[in-house]
Symmetry: C2
Subunit: 364 residues, 2 copies
C-alpha cells in the first residue's frame, strides 16, 4: 500500500513517476507493434515534462484540444501538433494559428463547409493542414463519412491543404463498448478515407483512437491513434477494465476530516477534504461513484461537494480514522489535472519533483 | 436578448456587472430585513472585487471553505472570515491559521472531539474561534445536535474558544426542498444552541443558510446566513425556481462549432466550444441537462465533454448557425468560476473590466 508522503498537504495531486513511465512505454510499444503512429492527447496532462517523456518514447507529435494548448506545447518545443477539434476560426484565432504554423507543424480539424470556409478566409496559404472530422458513432461533432468529401472540397476551395480524416470514438467510454466502438471507428475512417481518395485527395493521415480503443485499433486505414488518459489511468478506465489498479499513476492525497459510525437514517461514512474542485465532478451513469479509493476497493464515494467527498464503507469494514491520509483516484483524470497549478511527482515514497500544469485553463 | 461583446473570444466567462450589483443588494436587504447578519460564501466567486461589493452592501464578513481562500481574502483586506469547514489541523496548517488570526478575525469549524483536539494542539491560545458543525439533514459533515456539547467541550478543554454552531442545509438544493431544509436547519441549530447554552457555553454565533434557504431563514436562534451562489445565479438555481432568468449574472460565451440537422439514428444538434473545462461537470439527477442556454430556454445540453457541449433543440425550432455566439448558464457556478483565471466584466454590452479569480484553485 502506497502512502502519502509527509511533505504533502492535502488535498494535492500526486503523480507516481515510475507508473507514469511504465504506462508511457507500454502504450508506445503496443501502438508501434501495430505499425501505427502514436500522437497522445496532451489535454489529459497539460504538462510539458510528460509530453517530453511521450515524445522520447516515440510519439510522432502531440494532440491538443485548443489553440491555447498548442501554443503552450509549441513554446516548450513540440514540433508537430494536431488540434483535434472543429475550430471556428475568426480573425484573432486565425492570426494565432498562422503564428503557430511558423514554429511547428500544425493540423486542425473541421467538420463543415462553413467552418472550412471561415478557416480558409483567415489561414489560407499558411502552413496549416486540415483533417476532416467524421462521426463514428459518438454523435458529438463530425460529419457522416459520406459527407466528408463535401467538407474537404470546401476546405480545398478555400485554399487549405487537406491531409486526411479523423474521428473520436467517445462511445468507447462505456462498459462493453471498446471493441464495438473500435470497429465502428475503423469502418467510418475507412469509408471517409476511401471517398476522399476517390475524389482525388491525397489521404496521408487517418487518425483515431481513444484510450479504451487505442490498442484495439489496427493499421490501415488508420495511420495514428490519439489516446490521452493512458498516461495516468483513472477510476473510469479502472471500472471499464482498461487499466489495472497498479497502472493508476495519479491520485489525490486527501485527509479524513469527518467520521460518522452512522445510526438509523444517518449513513455510516467518512468525509475527505478532496471535493469536486480537485477531483472534478464527472460521474457517468455506469460509474460506482465519484472516484475510487486506491487502498479501499470496496469503499464508494457516494456524494461530492466542492471540498467534501462523502465515502461509504461496507458493513463490517472499519472506517478509517480521523486525520488518516488516503489516496483518491479521480473518475476522469483530464478534468482533475486541469484544477491545479502543479502536481507533486512521487517516487519511492518521496516527493521528487513538482511539475507545473502549464496548459491548465487554456480553453481557447 | 444580450449578445456577446465582439472583444470576447470564446469560451469565456462573462459577469454582468449590473445584475451582479442588483443580486448583492437584494440579498443584503432581504437578510437585513429579517434581522440576520449576512456572511456570504466567497468560494462561489473567489474574486476580491466581488467580496468588496458584498461588504460595502452590508455583509459582516465572508465565509470561505479553505485556509488558502481565507489567506487570499485577508490579503485583500477582509477583516472577518469564517472557514466553514471541519478542518483537520496539522502543524503546517496550524501555523497558517495562527498567522491568519493575527491579521483578521478568524473562525473555523469542527465536528469531532478528535479534530477539536488536533486543532487545539496547534492553535490553542491563538485568536481563532471555533464553531461546532451540526448535521441538519444533508448527512455530509456535522454531528447530530445532541453531540454538539461533547465536541464543544473537547474544543474548550483543548484551549479553543467556542463561539457557537453552524450547519449547511445542502439538501435544500433539490426540487421542493428549500422550505423543508430551512425548517430542519432551524430545528438543528436551535437544539444545538440550546444544549450548548445549557452546558454553560456563551453561544454568540448560530450560522446557517444556503442560497436556496437563506431568505427562508428567520432570526433567533440563527444569527447569520452564508449564501454564496446568489451573486451570480446558475442553472441549478433557475431550475429550482430560486432565481429568475433575468437574475443570472454569469454566463459563458460560446461559439457554435458544429451543427447537424440530424437523420435517422443521429440526433439533431449543435456543438458549442464550451465544455466541462469551463462550465464544470456537475449535473444533479433532477437537472434538465449540463447547463442552460440563456437565450434558448427550450434547448437542452444533453452531453458535455471537456471542450464540447452537445445541445439538442426541440423539433421545429431552428438550430443556431455555425459561428453564432451564445451564452451558456452553467449548472453550478462555483465550479465554473474556479476553472478560469479571470472573468470579463460586462455592462451595457461592453467589456468594462476584467477581474482576476484570485482564490482560484486554493483548495487547501
Amino acid at each position: 500500500m502506497s502512502t502519502v508522503p509527509p511533505e504533502i498537504d492535502t488535498p494535492e495531486i500526486m503523480v507516481d513517476a515510475d507508473v507514469l513511465r511504465r504506462n508511457i512505454e507500454r502504450m508506445a510499444a503496443g501502438v508501434a507493434a501495430k505499425g501505427l503512429a502514436l500522437r497522445p492527447h496532451a489535454k489529459t496532462h497539460k504538462i510539458p515534462e510528460i509530453a517530453a517523456l511521450q515524445l522520447v518514447a516515440g510519439a510522432v507529435g502531440l494532440t491538443v484540444a485548443t489553440i491555447g494548448e498548442a501554443e503552450v506545447f509549441a513554446e516548450h518545443g513540440a514540433a508537430d501538433l494536431f488540434i483535434a477539434y472543429p475550430l471556428w476560426v475568426t480573425e484573432r484565432s486565425g492570426q494565432r494559428l498562422r503564428q503557430l504554423g511558423r514554429r511547428a507543424r500544425i493540423a486542425v480539424g473541421t467538420d463543415s463547409a462553413e467552418a472550412a470556409r471561415a478557416m480558409g478566409a483567415h489561414v489560407a496559404g499558411a502552413d496549416v493542414e486540415v483533417l476532416v472530422e467524421v462521426d463514428s458513432g459518438h454523435h458529438r461533432s463530425g460529419v457522416a463519412p459520406a459527407q466528408a468529401v463535401q467538407v474537404a472540397r470546401a476546405a480545398a476551395d478555400s485554399g487549405l491543404r487537406v491531409a486526411g480524416v479523423f474521428t473520436f470514438p467517445g462511445h468507447s467510454y462505456a462498459p462493453g463498448m471498446p471493441a464495438e466502438a473500435a470497429e465502428e471507428e475503423r469502418r467510418a475512417l475507412a469509408e471517409a478515407a476511401r471517398l476522399l481518395t476517390e475524389a482525388g485527395f491525397e489521404v496521408t493521415r487517418v487518425s483515431g483512437g481513444s484510450t479504451p480503443s487505442a490498442l484495439l485499433t489496427e493499421a490501415r486505414p488508420t495511420t495514428e491513434v490519439r489516446p490521452g488518459v493512458y498516461v495516468f489511468g483513472d477510476a473510469q478506465q479502472l471500472e471499464l477494465g482498461r487499466c489495472a489498479p497498479e497502472d493508476v499513476a495519479l491520485t489525490v492525497a486527501a485527509t479524513v476530516v469527518s467520521r460518522h459510525e452512522g445510526s438509523s437514517g444517518v449513513p455510516r461514512r467518512v468525509v475527505l477534504d478532496a471535493g469536486s474542485k480537485v477531483l472534478g465532478g464527472d460521474r457517468p451513469g455506469w460509474a460506482t461513484g465519484f472516484g475510487r479509493l486506491a487502498d479501499f476497493p470496496d469503499a464508494r464515494i457516494t456524494a461530492l461537494s466542492e471540498h467534501h467527498a462523502t465515502v461509504a464503507f461496507p458493513d463490517g469494514e472499519g472506517l478509517p480514522a480521523l486525520g488518516e491520509r488516503l489516496r483518491v483516484i479521480p473518475n476522469h483524470v483530464c478534468v482533475a489535472v486541469n484544477l491545479v497549478d502543479e502536481v507533486a511527482v512521487v517516487s519511492g515514497g518521496e516527493v521528487v519533483d513538482r511539475w507545473r500544469v502549464a496548459a491548465r485553463g487554456r480553453n481557447r
